[in-house]
Symmetry: C2
Subunit: 354 residues, 2 copies
DNA sequence: TTGTAAGCGTTATCAA
DNA sequence: TTGATAACGCTTACAA
C-alpha cells in the first residue's frame, strides 16, 4: 500500500480534447447556444438545438461537468459515508441511494469509515473539498470536529440507520434500542428467560451500543437478569468471530437458553458452532440475529431476526436529498426532517419453542 | 424512484464561502503562496508556510479540489465500475482499491452496472464527464460503443476479474475458465463422475460463461458427460435462488453425484436444500462453490470452493493505476500490463469422500 | 522565495 | 432566440 504524500503531478495531456468551443465553431453558433442546447428545458430554437446535438455526436464531445460545476456552483456530488460495504445493509443503502440520485444527475461520492469516528472525520474533511451538495452519514458516533466541519459546510446533512440523541440535521432511520428491545421481548414472549447478548466491545455511541441497551431495557422491564452479555472485539463481528464469541459465551454462561446477537452474521456463526457440536437449535439454545440478512432466511434452522430494509434507507435518503435541493430555492429555513424506517421482529425456527 | 430529466437548478448559495484569496489577504501573501503552502514538497519559506497554514486553520478554509482540478487538468478521480456491491467479491475490490488510491489523493467514482452491458455503457459515458484519470471495469462483456468511448477517452483502462480474450487495456485478474476447470478436475480427482454445473442464463461474454466453459473443458478432457448443466435466470444467483436451482437440477438429474455452482451463495442455497431434506452432504451429493466467500468456510459442512482474494484485485489495480500515472510523465507508450491473480481449489467437507 | 498574469471549460448575466 | 463578457476558484508559467 502506497503512502505518497505528494499528489501525482504527472499528466499534462488533457483528458479529453474536444471542448464546447470546438462544437460551437463547428456548428456555427456561440458556446452559450451549445451549453443551452445540451440542457433540456432551455430556450433554443428546435432547429438550432438539433444541429448542435448532431455536431456534438459527430465530434464525440463529452461535456466537462467539473468545469460546469465550478461555474454554476453546483458540483452535482453527494457524499455518502458508510462504515463498510462488506455488509449487505450498507451495500443496499449505497445502491438504493444511487438508484434515486443518479437519474437526477447527482453523483455519489462514497467513503468508508471502517466503523471509526476519526476516519469519518478525515473523510468529511476530504469530501468537503469536492463541494458536495449534501452529506450523508451513517450514525456511529461523530467526533466534535466532525460536527464543526459539517456545521461550517452549509449543506444538508443526513444521518442514517439510527435516531441520534443529538441529531446533526435530517435523519433516516430507526431506534436500534427500541428495535433490540422489541426483539428481546419477542424472545421473552417465547418463554425464554436466561437470555444472553453478544455485541461488540468499545461500542460507545454506536448502533451496537443502542442494541445492547435495548436488550438491557427489555430484560430489566421483564424482571430478568440482563448480565449475560459478551462484548467481543471491534465491529463488525464476522461469522467466524460470531462463532468464537458464542463459544466463549456458552462457556461463561452454560445455562443460557437464548442468545441475541448484534447481527445476523454473528448469529450464523453461533449456529455453526451448534451444528458442529450437534446442539439442537433451539432446543439446546435459541439463537436470534439482527438485520434480516439473506443468510438468516436461508440457514437451517432459519434464524429469527429483525427486519430492516437497507435499500429503503438509501432510497428514502436519496429522495429526501432531492426534496431538499428542490425546495432550497425557497430561502425558507427548512426544518430538519426525520424519516422513520419500520422494523419488526421476524420469528423463525431458531427461536421457536416446540 | 424519481425520473427527472432536468437537473436540479436550485441552489445559488455557495457551498463554502472562504476562498484562497481570502486566506491570502488575511495572511498577507499572494494566492500562489497559499496554493504552494498547501502543497507539500513545494518551495515556500518555512515561516511563511506556517503562517499561511495557521491562517487556513483559523479561517476554516477548505480548498476547492474541483477548481484545482480544472486548472491543473488533473481531476483526482478514478472511475470504478462493478456489477454490484451486494457481493463480497466486489465489495472487497472496491474497498481494496480505495485503500490504495486515497492515500495518493485519488478519489474513486463508483458505478454499478447491475451485470448489464448497456448499463456499463451508460455509466462509462457519465463517468467520462468527470474527467477521471483512469477507468476500471469489471469484465462482463462490453458493448461496442463502450469500447469506442474508452478508446476516445485517452486514459488508462483496466479490466478486472478475468483475462479477456479481447482486452481493452490493462488487466488484473485470472482465467475464470481455467479456474473452473481446476475446480472440476479437483472434483473428478475425488472420484466423482456424474458432476453437474449450475450457472446463470444468458451469460454470454460473462465470467459465469467462462466458468461454465471451464467445467465443460474438464469434463470432456476426462471423458465424462458434461451435459448436466442448468442455466438458472439472470445473475447473480442468490442463496434462495441457488436452492431453487439445485432442486430443479436434482429433479432433472437425480443421480448427480456432485454439483459445481457458479458461486458460493448458490452453493450454500443448494446445501440448504440438502439440510432441509436430510440429504447427507457429500454422501448423497457433493457441493462445490466458487469464490471463497465467508459463508463457504462457515457452513456445516464447509463448502469446497475456489479461492479468490477480492481485496487483492482492487489493491493491485490501485497500485497499477499509481504506477501508470507516475510513469505517464515519460511520454513513452506504456505497454498494457496483465497482473495475475492466483486462485486455487479449496477442498472441504462438502466434497470429501469418506 | 514570492508575485503577476493568463488561463482551465463551463455557466450566469445581461444585452442585442 | 442568440451572443458577448465576466466570473467560478484554482494552478501553470514566467517574471521579479
Amino acid at each position: 500500500m502506497s503512502t505518497m504524500t505528494v499528489p501525482l503531478n504527472s499528466i499534462k495531456k488533457p483528458l479529453a480534447t474536444t471542448r464546447m468551443a470546438d462544437v460551437a465553431r463547428q456548428a456555427g453558433v456561440s458556446v452559450m447556444t451549445v451549453s443551452r442546447a445540451l440542457k433540456p428545458g432551455t430556450n433554443v430554437a428546435p432547429g438550432t438545438r438539433e444541429r448542435v446535438l448532431q455536431t456534438v455526436r459527430e465530434m464525440g464531445y463529452v461535456p466537462d461537468l467539473l468545469a460546469g460545476g465550478l461555474s454554476s456552483k453546483r458540483s452535482g456530488f453527494v457524499s455518502l459515508l458508510v462504515p463498510s460495504v462488506n455488509n449487505p445493509h450498507f451495500a443496499e443503502t449505497v445502491m438504493g441511494m444511487k438508484r434515486v440520485l443518479e437519474p437526477a444527475g447527482l453523483q455519489v461520492l462514497l467513503g468508508f469509515t471502517n466503523y471509526q469516528a476519526h476516519e469519518e472525520e478525515r473523510l468529511i474533511e476530504w469530501m468537503l473539498k469536492r463541494r458536495p451538495q449534501a452529506l450523508v452519514l451513517t450514525y456511529d458516533g461523530h467526533s466534535e470536529r466532525a460536527r464543526q466541519l459539517l456545521a461550517g459546510a452549509g449543506i444538508p446533512v443526513i444521518e442514517l440507520w439510527e435516531k441520534p440523541s443529538r441529531p446533526i440535521g435530517h435523519v433516516v432511520g430507526f431506534s436500534n434500542r427500541d428495535a433490540a428491545c422489541d426483539m428481546t421481548r419477542a424472545l421473552i414472549g417465547q418463554g425464554y428467560q436466561k437470555i444472553a447478548y453478544i455485541g461488540e466491545a468499545d461500542d460507545h455511541g454506536t448502533r451496537g451500543d443502542q442494541r445492547r441497551k435495548g436488550f438491557t431495557d427489555a430484560m430489566k422491564a421483564a424482571g430478568l437478569d440482563d448480565s449475560r452479555q459478551l462484548a467481543y472485539g471491534a465491529p463488525p463481528i464476522s461469522m467466524a468471530r460470531g462463532r468464537a464469541a458464542f463459544e466463549q459465551l456458552m462457556t461463561l454462561y452454560p445455562d443460557t437458553q437464548a442468545v441475541l446477537c448484534v447481527s445476523d452474521p454473528c448469529a450464523f456463526g453461533a449456529l455453526t458452532f451448534c451444528l458442529e457440536h450437534h446442539w439442537p437449535v433451539p432446543e439446546r439454545v435459541a439463537i436470534a440475529g439482527f438485520g434480516a440478512f439473506e443468510i438468516s432466511a436461508c440457514s437451517v434452522p432459519a434464524i429469527s431476526t429483525l427486519s430492516v430494509n437497507g435499500a429503503e434507507v438509501g432510497e428514502k435518503a436519496g429522495q429526501l436529498i432531492l426534496d431538499l435541493l428542490e425546495t432550497s430555492r425557497l430561502a425558507s429555513p427548512l426544518p430538519f426532517r426525520t424519516i422513520d424506517i419500520l422494523t419488526q421482529p421476524i420469528l423463525r425456527a431458531s427461536t421457536t419453542r416446540t
